[in-house]
């Protein structure tokens, strides 16, 4: 590749990776609170709500994310002539964000449930006997140990999410793999070149390396208690 071609390739990959990062952060920011809500619904004493959430978790975890992306992007328009996403890249990004947030919220909700259930009942009872309110017990007693308990499985999911964002190319979201693959098919005077696609892998590795370091630092920080 000439110097000019390298610039073209990396400009395209950078742009694609920016879209990857946007989808990653939007999903993370949306799926954590939604996951908490799904968990609360799942653990609710209101039977219909609990069953509904179980069904949702079953469907979302039991079917491929790719299918969910396709359904969310295409079905409203095809089946109901309803076009919530609008056209172009921004429409695809909105649809992908919704699909990813719902999908990851279901996984997160089960991790959060495990975290809550890992706190012994005695912690709550100790708080009650000491005259604390339920609210104080949640924030002052349970929250930090819960966070500590969910951090390792959450780290796993977060790293998986970075890579899963590439699935959004099924609805032609222009994320980094889409950008790299373009040079294989041929674009802007470069075709049949596999190197850009190979570079995309390096982007993922670098970003996941950074995340791994940050997450394990956080884990270390919480190592002061057991």
């Amino acid at each position: 590749m000439t110097g000019e071609q390298i610039k073209i390739v990396f400009d395209a990959l950078n742009l694609g990776f920016l879209q990857t990062l946007r989808l990653f952060f939007v999903t993370l920011i949306g799926a954590v609170p939604l996951g908490l809500l799904v968990m609360l619904g799942r653990m609710s004493r209101v039977k219909p709500l609990s069953l509904l959430m179980r069904a949702l978790i079953w469907i979302i975890r039991g079917s491929p994310l790719v299918i969910q992306l396709l359904i969310i992007y295409y079905v409203p328009g095809i089946a109901f002539n309803w076009h919530p996403w609008g056209g172009g890249e921004s429409g695809r990004f909105a649809a992908a964000s919704v699909a990813f947030i719902i999908n990851y919220a279901c996984y997160f909700s089960e991790i959060f449930r495990g975290g809550i259930q890992s706190i012994p009942r005695g912690q709550e009872e100790a708080g009650l006997v000491l005259g604390m309110t339920k609210r104080q017990i949640f924030f002052k007693v349970k929250l930090l140990p819960m966070f500590k308990a969910v951090l390792p499985p959450m780290s796993n999911e977060i790293i998986t999410l970075v890579k899963d964002t590439s699935l959004s190319r099924i609805i032609a979201l222009q994320e980094i793999i889409w950008a790299g693959q373009a040079f294989l098919k041929g674009t802007r005077g470069i075709s049949g070149n596999v190197l850009p696609l190979f570079f995309t892998g390096v982007y993922y590795l670098a970003f996941n390396g950074l995340l791994t370091i940050l997450l394990s630092r956080l884990e270390k920080k919480l190592d002061y208690f057991r």
């Binding site: 005695g122 912690q123 100790a126 009650l128 006997v129 000491l130 140990p145 208690f225 057991r226």
Partner: protein, 262 residues
């Protein structure tokens, strides 16, 4: 006036009657120990007193004030129960210290949170907090843990954890301090240090209810002993009397079994 009066407490879990017609009184400064085999309802009784279980019948009075009345149909609001709870302190078998806080923080936390509700809190914040701080230091010193104030629960032995838990309960100055088998989760060589602390509290006339399997301890430390069997008070009285001249057949059998093991 009795510091505690328990009248006809009954508790069912499903079809099982765990407590039936439990009635007794306690005087200020008295140490009462409750003995009996596992499943006789001792722990459930303590949990009822601390509002962790709701009795199906009966009344609980502290200093003549009715704290609980099962006949009083209106649902008690959380807020009310929370205040009433503070008449009692509870030391758990499994300590239940908060792992993310140091020994000192464990002792201080509840007091700090309760202080926020005081009307003068905003104006006297620093005095209130330093008062709580000083009290926590003093309590841990009493427990022989001055050098472990900054340790986290996982860095402490079981005996040390239990002593922190006792300090934590004492920090709120309950009228009646309850112990739920405080040494049952400890290695034999660690029970001594916890029993010593409880004995010191008894010597200073702390009003206490101690559920225990340590028969010798119950006999020596308690002013009165209650023997429970199948959810009922089978026999109660002066520890020397009950241990040396039990009147009831069930008490005799129970004590004989302990002597054999000892």
């Amino acid at each position: 006036m009795h510091i505690l009066e328990v009248q006809g407490i009954q508790k069912r879990f499903g079809a099982t009657e765990v407590l039936s017609d439990i009635s007794f009184t306690m005087e200020r400064g008295e140490a009462l120990s409750i003995i009996g085999s596992s499943g006789s309802g001792k722990t459930t009784l303590l949990r009822c007193l601390n509002f962790l279980e709701t009795p199906d019948a009966g009344r609980i009075l502290v200093n003549g004030e009715t704290l609980f009345d099962a006949a009083d149909a209106r649902k008690k609001r959380d807020r009310e129960i929370r205040k009433k709870r503070l008449h009692f302190g509870l030391v758990f078998q499994s300590f239940n210290l908060f792992p993310q806080y140091t020994a000192l923080e464990n002792v201080k936390l509840a007091g700090q949170l309760l202080a926020r509700e005081r009307p003068d809190y905003q104006n006297h914040k620093s005095e209130v907090l330093s008062e709580i701080d000083a009290k926590a230091h003093a309590l841990l010193k009493e427990m022989g843990l001055s050098n472990r104030e900054q340790s986290y629960p996982f860095q402490l032995s079981g005996g040390q954890c239990q002593r922190v838990a006792i300090a934590r309960a004492l920090a709120l100055e309950p009228d009646i301090l309850c112990f739920d088998e405080p040494t049952s989760a400890l290695d034999p060589e660690l029970t001594g240090e916890v029993l010593r602390v409880i004995r010191e509290l008894a010597d200073r006339n702390t009003t206490m209810i101690i559920v225990t399997h340590e028969m010798a301890f119950a006999r020596d430390v308690a002013d009165r002993v209650i023997f429970m069997d199948e959810g009922r008070i089978c026999e109660q009285g002066d520890p020397k009397e009950v241990f040396e001249h039990p009147r009831e057949e069930r008490t005799k059998q129970f004590l004989a079994r302990y002597r054999q093991e000892a």
